[in-house]
Subunit: 463 residues, 2 copies
């Protein structure tokens, strides 16, 4: 049976697979910072070359932003559904860089006392390690059997961490080329170290930046305070008003389209035995900060949020400067669920800000990425296949979970290409993605490759 | 009469005086940023060398912070009160540097259509241009007459813009050397372009920095929001609570020691014809932001304030990062009047913050500079001398004004050296000190030198 031979090959070649991942990690593809544009292009080139080398003819394709890597392979004997695999080669910024124990872009294989090993680097989990699990699975199939048993398209994005502005236009312009029977998305987590998971609910996101302006220049606070309006005070008051005392978001209409959690899903989640206290303790906290009367799991999976992700104004360097700044700004994002409308939420936020401004103040807005929430039907036939192979590989039934983070691409696949997604990933909650010392378990990488190899085989069996 | 010869010499040598000021301005002596330590030392060396060159034997003296420049000259024939002249050679940071029209440290002499000229550079007004008015006045007396008619000590500080931490210890350790009959401080403004002024009330200052901490690392807002406490939200709420709807500071006890403005002072201020609307219009504002029921002049001169001078937290670079940061911080300062106690105010602020923290949050504080407010008696004999010479030079009576900014050194002179100060300066409200494109009028520089030359002569006449 070819699957067993493919799996053995994966085991035997793990070190080579790891070396290739390390090569990709070393490319500093931070998409949110223009200083790393060339690195992002280099990462796209590297991915295209890797895919082409194993016979998935690929190239970096021009977009309005960072290049999109697209590759195709359809072997003569390929049967079963055509799959489109999606991952992203861009990573988050590394600041505060002084909190990293090692160079964020020089991957380290670190062994723990219990013998387990982890890959420490920016992008090790999000998403370079994850995307390479699929590429290495495809490689093993091709190297072992000479072909892929299902037709495969690979789509690798370079702007997932910076708003994915090119995805919409690119999918719209290349609908025929990219349309497949099923999307495979590897950017999610396992339930825990032993339990694989498939994400069937994803929160959406809308993000915005507001700059409050007052005087026409920075002012000396001795000469002009308190006669001059201080935009930091104005901004602080606006942000403080976004939540009420019960942790609910105060924007009018914010909860329109937020569904109650169905009883069967709530029951399934209760069965997961999630320990909210332990989850918070891991990050040094003890009390859930969100809406009162909701469990931690509800707060992070099925409830919408508003978070200020960044704020700046006035003098922020060493020492002190008695300035009243001309402006202050904040980056604000909303996690969305159910049928909440990203554009309506953004409009409500802007309206609230405008209405909160005192005399002499103005607000400027800069839209960042947005995408609606997504729910995968429990009776989806591909979902059954995914559950089967994950249980075979991990010897434990896959948990059907929700994800607090948004993967707007899954929404785009559904809307633009009319295609359902299977969201399988091998990250863990303690991977510290977006934070210093991000890591990816070696087990996740190894068994992740094996899981995809199984799924490729299983999908071919279906035909 | 030697004064007239001295004044003529000042007029004749103005270009040389200006060249010397430009040399000092070119030294990037930003005291609040450790990256400019060497520049601060260079500025101290330059000042000491300049003073020594004209026979005021000076040297940079070691302190716990930036060097203090001290020089003395007592000519055999010197009569009258021994004066100590104070200025500071350090300057504010230049950010946001992109808003400067020219290099902040390459002084430009810019001519207006009406023929007036201004010196544009960081420190041109605050305080290099001002301190050089005295040095050049002394130079003219010495070069013209071979001596100074009063005993002079010069004290130039390098930390005025960064909390003046060395001043207290340095004065305490050198009391005998520095004690004089009168301090002359040149770090204040004129009433307007035509009207000289002496500052008789100065607001004090206490400044503090607070960092609110929540989780033990930066978090992904998809994975942890809203279960995890966001310190930006906490900080925003705390800062929003510092003022009530009437613009009053809410800290308990904040208004203890704040005097009512005496009727005679209020009458004198009303006579100044200050146009609050025009004052605000100059900076693009129309409505006074401070306590309701107070005039703009009261708000900036005789009422205490609380201003947030800087805030930072989370991701503040280009693009967007969906992070819940581990911490957020703000720099907060309070302008003080009357008998408000700087330490009590700081303690009240910290207590308020601590009491406002929700579960799982902590606050760390970092104290910056502080000093009490100061009032000069209207019957001070030196004040009369100051008024006389200023009227002679400017052909207009000097306004007795208050200053919204604090000059803690004046308090220190009074407390540590038992010495009254005469605060005379030639800045203008539109000098943009602490802001991009700071400038100093050439008239301020020229007639400022002449004013000090007159005062030096007048003080000698007293004897």
């Amino acid at each position: 049976m070819s699957l067993n031979a493919v799996l053995s090959r994966i085991d035997a070649n793990l070190n080579d697979s790891l070396e290739r991942l390390f090569e990709l990690i070393r490319i500093k593809s931070i998409s949110t910072d223009a200083a790393f544009d060339a690195d992002c292009r280099a990462a796209a080139d590297w991915c295209a070359a890797q895919l082409s080398a194993i016979g998935i003819a690929a190239e970096p394709r021009k977009t309005i932003g960072k290049p999109m890597v697209v590759g195709h392979r359809k072997d003569a004997g390929a049967r079963g559904p055509h799959v489109l695999f999606y991952g992203h080669y861009d990573v988050q910024p590394v600041d505060p860089v002084e909190l990293w124990n090692t160079d964020p872009f020089e991957p380290q294989l670190v062994a723990r006392d219990d013998g387990s090993r982890m890959i420490v680097a920016r992008g090790s989990a999000d998403d370079k390690g994850q995307l390479m699990t699929f590429v290495e699975a495809a490689r093993a199939w091709i190297e072992e059997t000479g072909s892929l048993p299902v037709p495969v398209t690979v789509l690798l994005e370079g702007e997932e961490e910076s708003g994915s502005k090119s995805v919409g236009p690119f999918l719209a312009e290349n609908t025929e080329e990219l349309k497949a029977d099923l999307a495979l998305i590897c950017d999610t987590s396992m339930w825990d170290r032993e339990t694989p998971a498939i994400s069937t609910m994803l929160r959406g996101l809308t993000s915005d930046e507001v700059t409050v302006k007052a005087a026409n220049m920075d002012l000396h606070s001795g000469m002009f305070g308190s006669a001059a309006r201080n935009p930091i005070h104005v901004l602080a008051k606006i942000l403080a008003g976004l939540h009420d005392d019960a942790g609910r978001v105060t924007l009018p209409g914010f909860y329109d389209g937020v569904p109650d959690l169905p009883d069967d899903i709530k029951a399934m989640w209760d069965d997961l035995g999630f320990d909210g206290e332990a989850f918070l303790a891991e990050i040094g906290l003890s009390v859930p900060a969100g809406e009162t009367g909701r469990t931690v799991l509800e707060q992070i999976w099925s409830r919408p949020t508003c978070e200020v992700n960044g704020i700046t104004g006035g003098y922020t360097g060493d020492g002190f400067k008695t300035v009243i700044p001309a402006e202050a700004s904040a980056k604000v994002s909303f996690r969305l669920v159910g049928d909440q409308d990203p554009q309506a939420i953004r409009a409500a936020f802007r309206k609230y800000v405008e209405e909160s401004l005192p005399a002499d103040c103005s607000a400027e807005f800069h839209a960042h990425g947005s995408g609606a929430a997504l729910t995968i039907p429990f009776d989806d036939p591909f979902l059954a296949k995914g559950r089967k192979v994950l249980e075979e590989e991990w010897n434990k039934p896959a948990a059907l979970i929700a994800m607090g983070g948004s993967i707007p691409i899954a929404t785009d696949f559904q809307k633009t290409l009319g295609m359902q997604s299977l969201m399988i990933g091998f990250g863990l909650d303690d991977d510290r993605i977006h934070s210093p010392n991000e890591k990816y378990e070696l087990t996740s990488f190894h068994k992740g490759i094996r899981s995809w190899a199984r799924l490729i085989g299983e999908l071919a069996e279906t035909a």
